[in-house]
Structure formats: structure tokens, C-alpha cells
């Protein structure tokens, strides 16, 4: 049998890990990324990566990590993959250690661990406060080695456009566009792994990178891939709002002793510590964001009357702050101009992470045979709310599972991509080229970037911390209006060289489709669970809603189905961090 051909789309932690695992089997990989992979969004992760190594002798264990992950996710996560992930976590840390990641160390020379939200254990390994950057680089370096050996071929600066589906609705490759030459090409493959990350752009401004458009996932959803739990969007409690984005202030700030407060009656009110005495500032993110929302919007206690609360490191030892949080302190200094070692930081919650994503089975395959997904773009692991420092872990673990599974699948095929009629490739390529020509000819009155801002504004206003059915309906109507207006966009750039406008107009259409999945899913779910909070339905309702949302594309909008959650290890319990 000829070598199977595997494509990985996305060069963050999940995509790179999958690539390494595939290359280790001797199978060649074609790796696609919109940016040089070393610039992928994983680079932004700050605080750390969870693993119950129990370095501090606190009695921590992978079983405990697993339980807290499931509890943190408000029991919406299927339990099989998170269990395996938590069991694999210590060996994942060790792998990165062997790759040379400069983890912070204990005096004995062991890897140091700090606290993060949703646990009372020191479980988070870290490299200063740029952990994602160091982990990404470590995998990038290993992939570069395979690239030098010829096993990996990188297509950096290529953007995924669509999957190639054969007549049996099996994935047989992809189409992609070169972002400089604008060449659109078809790439046959026996298996495709989508590792394209999150969808922050759907909310306009978020803590995500500009490249996190959700476009690839949305495009595949429109081709029949099921999108699951889209309504579960994590709002990070501590970010710095700005014109261009929300800049993350890591949970590590609170893990190292940072306190959240607002002035009340002339004195600091440490409201998280008062509301949640056991976990204090380290309650999970959904809980912290809701508390901030309440203090600012319901009680009117925002700093100087603005939607701002303080995150305070100024009472901590400034040398320790520099050493353990230097990278983020620097971000605050550079972007705001104040020194967090001296004055409290002014922060507010911002859209951060999508728990939902492409539906996958326990082998990371989507409902489309041959199409796999891993990383933030898949929906497994985090349920209704993700614990801090579990994202790097789930990305790496997802890559470790999906890579070998894709190879296994490809090797087991009775008909390979080489046996497929050329027609299936030609027709998809033609479809994409026609789409590009259509966009280039758009000469309407609307500006795509202005429409994008309108989408982001209404999504941020109505589909983040608090959700009300009337406002969700209003949002869906607005998205439909934006879809209409999309047809009337004028593309100011007709050139066939590095035409970012063409690409953006296509991405934006995909954002609109994905926005509907998020909104329609949220509208239907009349309960509160994890990050999804409806004041009109304030409690979790396991009887009716302990189930996974599955959105399928139809011309009339998302069709929702539900499937039961696998709760074979832990029965749902009340989630209480007080």
C-alpha cells in the first residue's frame, strides 16, 4: 500500500502535536497555516498548563484533576476524553521538559507548579508568564526538525477554504488559498485534521488573535460538519479592554496572590473573597465574570463609575511578581502605561474561549469520515466552562489522539485519495474559484469591516455573560440583517496579490454563520450552566438540559439536535465554590 496522505490545518499546539505524532509514524504530513506556525494563537497563553504531578506533596492526583475539570465544566463534558487527558497530563509536562521548555523551577530543580482557578492544588506548570509561547516554540522546533528531514511540508501563509467531499460525503482533501499569490488550489488527502483554534472574531474584540476567525470550522459546518455546544463561550474575568482587542491578564495573577476589588464606602471591597470564602479570587472564570458583572452593572460599583474593577498585585513582593508574572506585567506597562507592582490594574471581563466547537467522537473524528478536529476548534473536554490552564493541555492531548487516529483511519481505507475520480477535486476547486471571483466583483455600498464591528458589538452586548431570550432573538435578527447586507459589500481592492480584503469578506460570511449557531443554541437552552447564564432560568436543569447541543447547517439556519452526555464516571452534583 502507498503511504497514506494526511493534512493538518492549523499550526498551534494541537496542529503541531498532531503533526509530530503523525511524522513519528513515518507518515508524511502537509501542514497548513495562515501565519508562520510560530506565530499561532497558542503563543498568547500566559499562565500555564495543568498536570497533577503533586510536586508540592498536597495529595493531588489525575483523578482529582479529572473530577475538577468535569465539575468546572458543570458536567456538560463527555467524560471519557477528559479522563484520559488528565491521566496523560504529567507525561505531557515531561515531554515538554525534555524538549527544553524553560519551566520555572523549585530550589531542588524540579518543575514548579502554581495555583489556578477551580482547584485548591498547585497544579499548573509555567514558564514565567508566557507559557503558551514556550510550549508552542517547543513543538514548532520539533516540527522544524521533521521539516528539515523532509517528512513535514509546511504551507505557511495559506488559508483553508473548504473540505473536498466525495459522493459518499467522505473527506478527501481540502482547498486553500495562498494569501500572497492568491492562488487557490486543491490538496487531496486521505485524512484531514482541523486544528484552527477559536472564533474570537465573531465577537469583534476578544482576547483572541486576529487570526481566530472560526472561518474554517464554519466553512465545514456549512458543508455538513456538526457544530456542538456553540453557545458555551468563556468570558475571561480579567482583561484590558482596548480599541483593537481585549488583552488578557492571566489568571496566574490571582494564582500568585492577586486580589480583585472595587472601592465601596471609601474602602476596598474584596467581593470575590467575601462571596466565595473557600476559593476566593480563584473561583472558576464563569463565576468570577458573573460576580464582576453583578458588582459593576447591578450594584453600580465599577471604579470611577466605569465598567472596570481592580486586579491588585501591588501588595505582593515586587521581585516575585517580576519573576513569575514578568511577561504580563510588561503587557500592562506597555499597553496601559502603569506599573502593576505599584498600582492596581484596571480590568474587565472579555470574550476568551469557545468551549463549543466541531463535534467529534472519542477518536477525534467529526461526523464526516476522514475529517478530524483537535484543539479549541473541537467541543470535547471543557463542557460548559473551561478551567484555567486546561486549554494548552487539551490542545496537546487532542493532537496526540487525533494524529495517530488519522493515520490509522487513512491506513484502513479501502479506497484512497489516489483512487478517487478527479472530478470531486475539480468541482470543489471550481466552486471556490467562482466564490473568489464573485467577491472580487462585489461593488456595493457596505464596508465589510464596519459590518464586522456591528456583529462584534451586538454579540458582545447580548451573548456574553448574561443572556436574555428577547435580546438573543434581537441578535439573531441582526445577524440575518447583516447577512443580507453582506451581499451589498463593496470590495475596494480588486488586485490579485496579497488581497486581504477578499479573504476577509469570505471569513466574515463564515463568522456570521457561526454567530447564528452560537445565538440559536443559546436561545434554545433555557437553563444556566457554566458560562451560559440566563437570569430568567438561573438554575442548572439536568432533567431537560444535561445534553450536548448539535447544530447542523440548513439553508434556513442551524437545525438543533441533542444527544446525552457521557457521565459514566461522575454523577452531576451541585457546583458550589462558596
Amino acid at each position: 500500500m502507498a503511504q497514506p496522505k494526511v493534512i493538518v490545518v492549523g499550526g498551534g499546539l494541537a496542529g503541531l502535536m498532531a503533526t509530530i505524532k503523525i511524522a513519528e509514524t513515518g507518515t508524511p504530513v502537509e501542514l497548513f497555516s495562515v501565519v508562520p506556525v510560530r506565530r499561532s494563537h497558542s503563543v498568547c497563553a500566559q499562565g500555564g498548563i495543568n498536570a497533577s504531578v503533586n510536586t508540592k506533596g498536597e495529595g493531588d492526583s489525575p483523578a482529582q484533576h479529572f473530577y475538577e475539570t468535569v465539575l468546572g465544566g458543570d458536567f456538560l463534558a463527555n467524560q471519557e476524553l477528559p479522563k484520559r487527558m488528565c491521566e496523560a497530563a504529567p507525561s505531557i509536562i515531561y515531554m515538554f521538559d525534555r524538549m527544553g521548555v524553560p519551566f520555572s523551577r523549585t530550589p531542588e530543580g524540579n518543575i514548579d507548579f502554581r495555583r489556578f482557578g477551580g482547584t485548591l492544588f498547585h497544579r499548573t506548570a509555567f514558564a514565567g508568564s508566557t507559557t503558551g509561547q514556550q510550549l508552542l516554540y517547543a513543538l514548532d522546533e520539533q516540527v522544524r526538525r521533521y521539516e528539515a528531514e523532509g517528512l513535514v511540508k509546511k504551507y505557511e501563509g495559506w488559508e483553508f477554504l473548504s473540505g473536498v467531499m466525495d459522493d459518499d460525503k467522505t473527506c478527501r482533501g481540502i482547498t486553500a488559498i495562498n494569501l500572497v499569490t492568491m492562488e487557490t488550489r486543491v490538496f487531496p488527502a486521505d485524512a484531514v485534521i482541523i486544528a484552527t483554534g477559536g472564533c474570537g472574531s465573531v465577537f469583534g474584540r476578544s482576547t483572541n488573535s486576529m487570526i481566530c476567525t472560526g472561518s474554517a470550522a464554519s466553512s465545514l459546518y456549512q458543508q455538513g460538519a456538526v457544530y456542538a455546544n456553540g453557545e458555551f463561550i468563556q468570558i475571561h474575568p480579567t482583561s484590558i479592554p482596548a480599541d483593537d482587542k481585549f488583552r488578557l491578564m492571566s489568571e496566574a495573577c490571582r494564582g500568585e496572590g492577586g486580589r480583585v476589588w472595587v472601592p465601596r464606602d471609601g474602602k476596598p471591597w474584596y467581593f470575590l473573597e467575601e462571596m466565595y470564602p473557600k476559593y476566593g479570587n480563584l473561583v472558576p472564570r464563569d463565576v468570577a465574570s458573573r460576580a464582576i458583572h453583578k458588582v459593576v452593572h447591578d450594584m453600580g460599583l465599577g471604579v470611577d463609575g466605569e465598567p472596570v474593577v481592580y486586579l491588585d498585585l501591588s501588595q505582593l513582593d515586587s521581585k516575585k511578581v517580576t519573576q513569575k508574572l514578568g511577561g504580563i506585567v510588561e503587557i500592562y506597562e506597555k499597553f496601559v502605561g502603569d506599573d502593576p507592582r505599584k498600582v492596581p490594574m484596571r480590568i474587565f471581563p472579555g470574550m476568551h474561549y469557545s468551549m463549543g466547537g466541531m463535534w467529534i467522537d472519542d477518536n477525534h473524528m467529526t461526523n464526516i469520515p476522514g475529517l478530524f478536529a483537535a484543539g479549541e476548534v473541537d467541543y470535547q473536554y471543557h463542557g460548559a466552562n473551561r478551567l484555567g490552564a486546561n486549554s494548552l493541555l487539551s490542545c496537546v492531548f487532542g493532537g496526540m489522539v487525533s494524529g495517530p487516529e488519522a493515520v490509522k483511519y487513512a491506513k484502513g481505507l479501502s479506497r484512497h485519495t489516489t483512487d478517487m475520480p478527479q472530478e470531486i477535486y475539480d468541482r470543489e476547486l471550481k466552486r471556490q474559484k467562482e466564490y473568489n471571483s464573485r467577491v472580487l466583483k462585489m461593488d456595493g455600498k457596505e464596508n465589510a469591516h464596519v459590518l464586522h464591528k456591528e456583529l462584534g458589538d451586538i454579540m458582545t452586548k447580548n451573548v456574553t455573560i448574561e443572556r436574555h431570550n428577547d435580546r438573543l432573538k434581537e441578535t439573531d435578527t441582526k445577524i440575518l440583517e447583516l447577512m443580507e447586507r453582506w451581499n451589498n459589500i463593496g470590495v475596494e481592492d480588486e488586485s490579485s496579490w496579497a488581497n486581504g480584503e477578499l479573504v476577509f469578506v469570505r471569513e466574515f460570511y463564515n463568522m456570521l454563520q457561526l454567530a447564528r449557531v452560537i445565538v440559536v443554541g443559546a436561545l434554545a437552552r433555557d437553563e444556566s450552566r457554566g458560562a451560559h447564564y440566563k437570569p430568567a432560568f438561573p438554575d442548572r436543569n439536568d432533567k431537560d438540559w444535561l445534553k450536548t447541543t448539535k447544530a447542523t447547517y440548513t439553508a434556513n439556519g442551524p437545525k438543533l439536535d441533542y444527544e446525552p452526555v457521557n457521565i459514566k464516571y461522575h454523577e452531576p452534583k451541585l457546583r458550589n465554590y462558596a
Partner: protein
């Protein structure tokens, strides 16, 4: 009259076109950075003369000064556009692409030469495999902290842009690569391949071409102690040269 931000962008649609300057006037808002000004131009692509123009093309991703994408020359200095705050810049703000890398369009350049150099210097630790083989070597907090400084290199190209030796299409590798060699040679496992990396920086375009101007140190947005790496590598390569001489 309301306050405006004056921005001059050095533009060209493709590498074959001669560059030209285009001026923009953007309504001022507090705490804007160069990126948010460029975004404003996307939403209203008109130059200072009021003519509709093609939106400015640039490269960006994280906007937190950690991915390296949005590096450009702002008021004469190579830096990241995301952390270039308008309130701290003299106007008109001039923005141009880096000059030491092949131009793609407007503010975007092609930095693939940097990644190829990382290949050449074998900037990795050759793992036996990603399967579980237990933890890596123990390491003192001091060494971990020292290596951490070098691990923050985001291949942005500022050190190359500032370096008198680094030229478009020239052979010089650039200071960042010496930092990376030092980073891997300092690691107990990485040290096992020290000679291979030293040989790479002793090749054409390597360490001997460094004029010791030390512009790189001043230019690095992450404050990476590149001069230390260059000094230590100077010593290591000398030892290596002697060893090779006597071995042959």
C-alpha cells in the same frame, strides 16, 4: 476642530511597484495604537485628500507583542505596531515596512529567511520520541531563568533590521539565531549537539560577520541579552575551531 492623528504610510501594491507615501488623517481617540489606526482606515479607506484608496495591507495576529507578526518601522524604528501607542508617538507618525526583508505589499514583508536560519542552526533538541520517557534533566532555577530570557525571542526581525551587517538577501544569519544557539547549547540535553550548532554559526554568514555594533540589543523589544550570547558563542566557537584544528 476635533483632534486628528496624522499617519504617513509607505505603500506599494506589489514588489514590482515603486514605493510611495500616502497620508491619512484619523479622528483621535485616547489610547489608540498604530493597529487601531490601521483598522480605522479599513473601515473608512480614504486618504488625507479624501480620495478612496485601497485599505492598507499589514500583518498582525496576537496584538499583545508576543507573536512578532506586526513588526514594522514606526517613526524610523523597527517595533511592533500593536505596542506603538499613538499618545507616545510624534506626528505625523510614519509607518513603513522593514527594509531588510523582501517586500510583499504595503507593510508586509517575507521573513521566511529567519525560519530557514533556525533550521540551519538546528534550533531544537532532538527527541527520541514524544512518548513518555519521564521528566527531563533537573535544572537550577538560575539556569531556567537565564534560558527563559532567550526563549522569549519571537523572530520579529527587529534585531535584523537594526543590524548594519544584516542585508536583504545577504548571508548574515542575524543576532536572533545566535540567541537561539545559546539557548539550546545551555540545555543539558541540547548541549549534546553543541558542536553541530557551533559549526553552523562558524559557517558563511555566521558569527565572524558580526561587527559587534550591538544595535541588536537595543532593538530587541523583549530585552533579550543577545550580546551575552554573542560573547559566549565567540569563546565557544574559538575553542571549537582549535579542537577541529587539532583533531584534523
Amino acid at each position: 476642530m476635533s483632534k486628528v492623528i496624522r499617519l504617513k504610510v509607505k505603500r506599494r501594491d506589489n514588489p514590482n511597484q515603486a514605493p510611495f507615501w500616502e497620508e491619512f488623517e484619523i479622528p483621535y481617540r485616547p489610547r489608540m495604537n498604530v493597529i487601531s489606526v490601521l483598522m480605522e482606515i479599513q473601515r473608512n479607506p480614504k486618504n488625507a485628500k479624501g480620495e478612496t484608496v485601497r485599505p492598507v495591507h499589514w500583518e498582525s495576529s496576537c496584538l499583545e507583542e508576543v507573536c512578532g507578526s506586526c513588526t514594522m518601522v514606526i517613526n524610523g524604528k523597527a517595533r511592533q505596531a500593536c505596542s506603538a501607542l499613538i499618545d507616545h508617538l510624534e506626528q505625523p507618525v510614519t509607518v513603513e515596512p522593514m527594509s531588510k526583508f523582501p517586500i510583499i505589499r504595503d507593510l508586509q514583508v517575507d521573513r521566511s529567511a529567519m525560519f530557514n536560519t533556525l533550521k540551519k542552526v538546528k534550533a531544537w533538541i532532538p527527541l527520541d520520541g514524544s512518548h513518555n520517557l519521564g521528566p527531563g534533566p533537573k535544572m537550577s532555577p538560575e539556569l531556567a531563568n537565564e534560558r527563559y530570557e532567550f526563549s522569549k525571542c519571537m523572530t520579529c526581525g527587529c534585531c535584523c533590521e537594526a543590524c548594519p551587517q544584516f542585508k536583504l538577501d545577504g548571508p548574515f544569519m542575524g543576532a536572533f539565531s545566535f540567541g537561539q544557539v545559546h539557548y539550546f547549547n545551555e540545555h543539558p540535553t541540547g548541549k549534546m549537539q553543541e558542536d553541530q550548532r557551533l559549526d553552523a554559526v562558524m559557517d558563511i554568514g555566521g558569527l565572524v560577520d558580526c561587527g559587534n555594533a550591538q544595535n541588536c540589543v537595543a532593538a530587541c523589544p523583549k530585552g533579550i541579552p543577545l550580546a551575552n550570547a554573542i560573547a559566549e558563542l565567540g569563546w565557544d566557537t574559538t575553542k571549537r575551531a582549535f579542537k577541529k584544528l587539532f583533531d584534523e
